[in-house]
């Protein structure tokens, strides 16, 4: 690969990871009109659950018995389940109590919850894992578990024996597959359509006999699963995860979602890719430009919001008294 194509490739990969978090924001915002700011932390929590599940399966000796595809599926299922639970918990603790108050409250409450999740991972990840699986110093084959505040090696679950390029192709493919599945879900199933209905008008949806509560809960489950996959892909892409990267990752995902137009899934994809391309190209093409990559990325976001406040694919809302 030459210089330019490999830059494009990196940009698409980075864009994919932002996109998944941005979609999480879109889903939550769609049904509830709230910004769940700990989405990035939930994704990182997902990555840590994958590591834990991996270690546990390794301890049980399942890797020798089962083929890698099956173990990967089990690990992903565990992570998705945990993230879905955390996502529901987020809804119960940080969003539901503020249904009638200003929109700022859930934002703040989820930020605080994000701190709790982050510190929980940093402090308790290793002790918890140790109580479940016994002493772990350097057991699991290619990965070492260190204290939660250190970077953690992500197990190579996608095509472990092939080259990084193949792995990256798979990451991009999986991202698009997930988006396609989500798209089908939203447009072809009854539950997906109810979500869209709630997103457009909650009262009207309620009057049409849609079970709003249940739909909201299911949205959070699906959002949690999306974020778990986001964490998985992010971890696989970077091979290393750290407990405190969730907040920056979350604000990038939020930026992507806003630039795309908060309620549009396609907008989230465009926003994520835009951010990915801006960051990678600033870093790659300007000598000494890496230190400015976040600054420029956020400046682009500001310019976009100021000149196109409804986002790229958002609908222009005309306010009436």
């Amino acid at each position: 690969m030459n210089f330019f194509t490999s830059l494009v490739f990196s940009a698409i990969l980075l864009g994919c990871t932002y996109t998944l978090v941005a979609i999480g924001y879109c889903l939550f915002f769609g049904v509830l009109d709230v910004v769940v700011f700990c989405s990035g932390d939930i994704a990182i929590f997902g990555a840590f659950s994958i590591i834990s599940a991996y270690v546990m399966l390794y301890d049980l000796g399942l890797f020798q018995v089962l083929p890698i595809a099956v173990t990967t599926m089990i690990i992903l299922a565990v992570a998705a389940l945990l993230c879905a639970l955390l996502s529901i918990l987020t809804y119960r603790v940080s969003i539901k109590p503020f249904e009638r108050s200003s929109a700022l409250m859930p934002l703040l409450s989820t930020i605080a919850l994000g701190t709790v999740i982050r510190e929980f991972l940093g402090l308790l990840f290793r002790p918890l894992l140790m109580t479940i699986t016994g002493p772990i110093t350097r057991v699991a084959d290619p990965i070492n578990i260190t204290s939660g505040r250190n970077p953690q090696a992500m197990p190579k679950l996608i095509a472990p024996n092939s080259s990084i390029d193949v792995r990256n192709y798979i990451i991009i493919a999986v991202t698009f597959l997930i988006i396609l599945l989500l798209f089908l879900f939203l447009n072809k199933t009854k539950m997906g359509l109810s979500m869209q209905a709630i997103s457009q008008n909650k009262e009207l949806a309620y009057m049409n006999g849609i079970n709003v509560r249940k739909t909201i809960n299911i949205t959070f489950v699906i959002g949690g699963i999306m974020l778990a996959i986001g964490g998985f892909l992010l971890g696989s892409y970077q091979s290393v995860v750290r407990f405190d990267t969730g907040s920056l990752y979350g604000s990038k995902g939020f930026s992507a979602a806003v630039v795309g137009g908060l309620k549009s899934i396609w907008g989230a994809i465009i926003g994520g890719m835009l951010l990915g391309f801006v960051e990678v190209f600033v870093s790659g093409l300007i000598p000494g430009g890496t230190q400015y990559q976040n600054i420029i990325a956020f400046l682009v976001v500001i310019v976009f919001i100021v000149f196109k406040p409804e986002g790229i694919l958002g609908e222009k809302v005309i306010e009436k008294v």
Partner: protein, 401 residues
């Protein structure tokens, strides 16, 4: 309870109350970590309890009715607290930080509390004020007071510039714009070598007044005071001045029109409120408050660096405003002081400090989403009395979100 309600209107009770509040503050400051946090929780619980019987509102009214007594005794008590710290360096230090955060929070309140515009960049404005002092003293050899004036100027202009996008955006879009500005500010300061990059500038000149250093150990009546005490008193005076400005703004038409914008922008516009002007006003005055707080911060630490004014600091300020009670000047000061003390007193938990802090916040938000002293119902007693024979009219300015 009814008897209690009546009795708070007597001037003696007000003086007693002020004294009690002063002692409570002193106790919270001086006690060890857990006792202190316990006292804070007890205080919040007491406020919650009294509020159920409407006594908190009654107290506010009583203070309004006996302005002179309340003001004089309150001022004496507030100024007595720094003096009572005597040689306790650490407590004097965190008290000063608390006072400065309170000033910044009052500024943030113009945007967040009054106008319902979320600003995630108050720390960036504090940073601008602090950097102005840093540059003025270390690069040009000027007095920090000149730096403070420059800081007011710079933050005012910057606030105006940040305010401009708010004319076009609102809600989450605005919060993202300010969030982006905050993160970009910290990262930009990291890369500018002229102001020390990520090292920041240290060993800066501290404030002095009439030839007396404000940050120095003085001995009065045989008591050796902590070096922060004189500066703390100056900061308290600043806080009182700014609190007065905030209260005035709240009571005149500016404050009312900001509230109107918070409730319904279009309706406010139809009522003839110049929305652009009001929003820019909220941003400029708020930024200046934050800038002054930042400028004064340099006088305490003699240091300015990007890490001190990052996104986490902005979140802390926002939490202070919300916990204290939006659009309630006294509440905001209480929130700022409590939260600054809590974060310091949690130090003893070492590893668990951040976790406990996050948990506390989550729980407090659920228990008391409106803050310790919530937004008060506006009363136009005197105005109405003249026209309608003493009948009170209450105007709720609760946003209908």
């Amino acid at each position: 309870m009814e008897a209690l309600k009546k009795s708070v209107h007597s001037p003696f009770v007000i003086i007693l109350l002020n004294l009690a509040l002063g002692f409570a503050l002193y106790g919270i400051l001086i006690t060890e970590s857990l006792v202190s946090i316990g006292l804070i929780i007890a205080f919040i619980a007491l406020v919650l309890f009294l509020e159920r019987y409407g006594i908190v509102n009654e107290v506010f009214d009583a203070y309004n009715d006996n302005k002179v007594v309340a003001l004089i005794s309150g001022l004496l008590v507030i100024l007595a607290v720094p003096v009572s710290l005597k040689g306790n360096i650490y407590i004097a230090h965190i008290s000063t930080i608390a006072v400065l955060y309170a000033i910044a929070c009052l500024g943030l309140n113009f945007q967040m509390g009054s106008t319902d515009m979320t600003n995630f960049a108050p720390a960036a404005f504090m940073g601008l004020g602090a950097y102005s002092v840093g540059v003025a003293t270390s690069k040009f050899g000027l007095s920090p007071w000149v730096g403070l004036l420059a800081g007011i100027f710079v933050t005012g202009i910057f606030g105006f510039m940040v305010g401009l996008p708010t004319l076009k955006t609102k809600g989450y879009y605005l919060s993202l714009v300010t969030m982006a500005i905050q993160i970009a500010f910290t990262q930009l300061m990291n890369t500018i070598r002229y102001v020390g990059g990520s090292d920041g500038m240290s060993g800066l000149t501290k404030y002095s007044l009439f030839g007396y250093d404000l940050y120095k150990r003085y001995t009065f009546f045989g008591i050796r005071f902590a070096p922060q005490v004189p500066f703390l008193i100056v900061c308290v005076l600043f806080l009182i001045a700014f609190a007065y400005i905030s209260m005035r703004v709240y009571h005149v038409s500016y404050g009312l029109s900001l509230n109107a914008i918070a409730q319904d922008e279009i309706a406010a516009n139809c009522l003839g409120i110049n929305i652009s002007r009001q929003k820019l006003f909220a941003f400029v005055i708020g930024s200046i408050f934050c800038g002054v707080a930042g400028s004064l911060m340099v006088g305490l630490e003699g240091y300015v660096g990007p890490k001190s004014y990052d996104f986490a600091k902005s979140l802390l300020l926002i939490c202070m405003v919300i916990l204290g009670g939006m659009d309630n000047t006294i509440g905001i000061i209480v929130g700022a002081v409590f939260l600054s003390i809590i974060t310091e007193k949690l130090r003893d938990f070492a590893d668990y400090q951040q976790l406990v802090y996050g948990l506390l916040l989550v729980v407090l938000l659920i228990v008391r989403p409106n803050g310790i002293l919530p937004r008060r119902v506006r009363k136009y007693k005197n105005l109405i009395r003249r026209n309608a024979g003493g009948k009170q009219v209450e105007v709720s300015t609760e946003p209908t979100a």
